[in-house]
């Protein structure tokens, strides 16, 4: 992708060489971390499968029990973990960039609670029982909630939604939808069960279809996000400077927020409330990428995917033969880590 391959080149050639090498090295390192995550996610699980059998399942499946475990459980789970991790990592970086707020997370626009509410509603009203039918509702709910936040954020005399009005509207809409959801699940036991698991966040037992279902949304979101990176770079100098550099501020914001909604909506509809990854990951890669979003976004995506996979594997190992949901592990490991990170470095100004 041309937007990624080219670094802004200051005149000092040696510096450019060093910087470029460092950035490509970091890209390689993160890709390697993700690859390790993929291997572990396929190799480790409640049922021990010898490496030779895994290899066989991947290359020449015969329909044995091990083949089925690998092909219909671990591979879809890994694929979904990669998709959700990339989506939430990139969405988090976009959100923090657009709001210039280091504490922004991808759920800021009401997306997460919108998805949860719509899923609960679909179970109660339409008696939806299969996971991949209510994922559609979750996705629709996420998009609708985000649209509602946009509408609210623009009301009140001002013609344009600013990051601040959007964040306020998003918080209000989230609280409102969460209250509705909580009230609904008290009335319906089945919805309560689904919601409980959805809320802790999991990539287990989703089946291959789910990854395929959300793939187009995540792919579209990623394309928009990468196209948004150079514009986001100019916006980070302030709206006035961005405008003075010929950037259409309104369009750039809109593209960024649509991308965030698609990415987050697809991820939370499929995996539940795991948006915390999106808050954490951009902070972890910022020392590597610097303030250049053309690098920060891909780095965040790669690390997001790696973290989801690692957390999922840990969740499978610590509670054998049962498992801990990935969202729980992410929060348990992530929160202290995040606190340490924030305390060690002084807070970033975006």
């Amino acid at each position: 992708m041309s937007a990624l391959a080219t670094v802004a080149r200051p005149p000092a050639k040696e510096r450019l060489g060093a910087l470029r090498r460092r950035r490509i090295l970091a890209l390689g390192g993160l890709t390697a971390a993700l690859a390790v995550g993929v291997v572990l996610s396929i190799a480790i699980g409640a049922k021990p499968v010898p490496p030779a059998d895994i290899w066989q399942a991947l290359t020449a499946p015969t329909g044995s029990e091990h083949d089925i475990v690998v092909r219909s459980l671990r591979i879809p789970r890994t694929a979904l973990g990669i998709l959700a991790g990339i989506a939430l990592g990139v969405a988090g970086a976009l959100m923090q960039g657009h709001t210039r707020n280091p504490l922004a997370d991808p759920g800021l626009l009401g997306v997460t609670q919108g998805a949860g509410f719509a899923m609960v509603l679909s179970i109660m009203v339409f008696d939806m029982t299969s996971l991949h039918s209510y994922i559609w509702f979750g996705l629709a709910g996420a998009l609708l909630a985000s649209a509602g936040v946009f509408a609210l954020g623009t009301i009140g005399g001002k013609a344009t939604a600013t990051p601040v009005t959007l964040a306020l509207a998003g918080t209000a809409v989230s609280a409102f939808l969460y209250a509705l959801t909580s009230a609904l699940v008290l009335l319906n036991e089945q919805a309560m069960d689904v919601f409980r698991f959805w809320q802790s966040g999991s990539i287990a037992a989703r089946g291959e279809e789910v990854a395929w279902q959300v793939l187009p949304f995540i792919a579209a979101g990623l394309l928009l996000a990468l196209a948004n990176a150079p514009g986001l770079n100019t916006l980070s100098l302030g709206e006035d400077v961005a405008r003075s550099l010929g950037q259409n501020v309104t369009a750039t914001r809109a593209v960024g927020l649509v991308a965030t909604t698609l990415l987050t909506g697809a991820a939370v509809a499929a995996c539940g409330a795991v948006a915390f990854v999106g808050l954490m990951v951009p902070h972890m890669v910022r020392p590597l990428a610097g303030p250049d979003n053309r690098w920060l976004l891909p780095y965040s995506g790669l690390l997001g995917a790696a973290m989801v996979l690692f957390a999922d594997v840990i969740g499978r190992v610590v509670a054998m033969p049962g498992e801990l949901e990935v969202g729980v592990v992410l929060a348990l490991i992530g929160a202290p880590f995040f606190v340490a990170l924030v305390r060690r470095r002084k807070p970033v100004r975006l």
Binding site: S2, T6, R9, P10, T234, L237, G246, N248, P291
Partner: protein, 274 residues
């Protein structure tokens, strides 16, 4: 006429700050807008640089309506540096200046040798080549301001609007920035419009002064025509003597105040006795 405001009405929300103002900026001049706080000078500058859409009237850039020209095209002709801009942490001088090339780039054309040389030239002109790799947050106020001007220069426009480029700078750094502005004008005949607070520096470094009060232009012309004792009273409510600057011969404003008035000359004695 490079830039022209015709009967513009400007404000934010319900608040009108400037009503029915006309102003023309001649090609190749350095114009400085002066006036008391809140008189609308920054508002006017923002409108001239299409950062603020007029509620009425129009702004013409080279005879064409600025709001009907694509913002990216405007960005190739006119650069505007807002007051006290902020950059994300860790951004280096070279990266900042490189972002000035944004209007000349697109998704299929990311970085060219033109960009390269424009950035090098901008850094050279502002004397920042040696500091190019330093993060902006590590620089002094004057250096940082030069870096922002350098970004606007890399944009490659021959029309530059600067909103209080000397705020928060000590006198030496103010002079340094204004010398730079004058050099930019001298080298390529750039047209420059600035907002300044220091009247003496404004008189020194501008070809033309525009004095504003309450959203109106009270006087416009050469510094010695505009900066008179009557005008200071009228625009700033300031009692002052205007004498020739011993170095440049431009008007020098000496405020009278009350402390040293000969008829109420007790002030000095009072300070001694208390």
């Amino acid at each position: 006429m490079r830039l022209q405001a015709i009967d513009v009405k400007l404000g934010y929300g319900d608040r009108t700050i400037v009503n029915g103002l006309d102003l023309g900026i001649e090609a190749g001049t350095v114009t400085t807008i002066i006036g008391p706080n809140g008189c609308g000078k920054s508002t006017l500058l923002r409108a001239l640089g299409r950062l603020l859409k007029p509620m009425g009237g129009q702004v013409l850039l080279d005879g064409k309506r600025i709001d009907q020209t694509a913002t990216k095209e405007v960005a190739k002709i006119l650069g505007i540096l807002p007051q006290a801009p902020t950059a994300p942490e860790g951004l280096t001088v070279a990266d900042l200046v490189a972002r000035g090339r944004h209007p000349h780039q697109s998704w299929y054309r990311q970085w060219s040798s033109d960009d390269e040389s424009a950035v090098a030239e901008a850094l050279d002109m502002t004397g920042l080549l040696d500091l190019a790799e330093r993060p902006l947050d590590e620089l002094s106020g004057g250096q940082r301001q030069r870096a922002w001007i350098s970004m606007a220069l890399a944009q490659g426009t021959d029309l530059l609007l600067l909103d209080e480029p000397t705020t928060f700078l000590d006198l030496a750094h103010q002079v340094e920035v204004l010398e730079l502005v004058r050099r930019l004008h001298g080298q390529a005949g750039r047209t420059i419009v600035m907002v300044l607070h220091d009247l003496n520096l404004a008189a020194r470094y501008a070809d033309r002064l525009v004095a504003m009060r309450d959203g109106r232009v009270v006087a416009a012309g050469a510094p010695h025509e505009v900066l008179t004792e009557e005008l200071l009273l009228q625009v700033f409510d300031l009692d002052a003597k205007v004498i020739p600057d011993p170095v440049a011969g431009t008007p020098l404003v000496v405020p009278i105040g009350t402390r040293h008035l000969p008829d109420r000359g007790t002030a000095a004695k009072e300070t001694v006795s208390t």
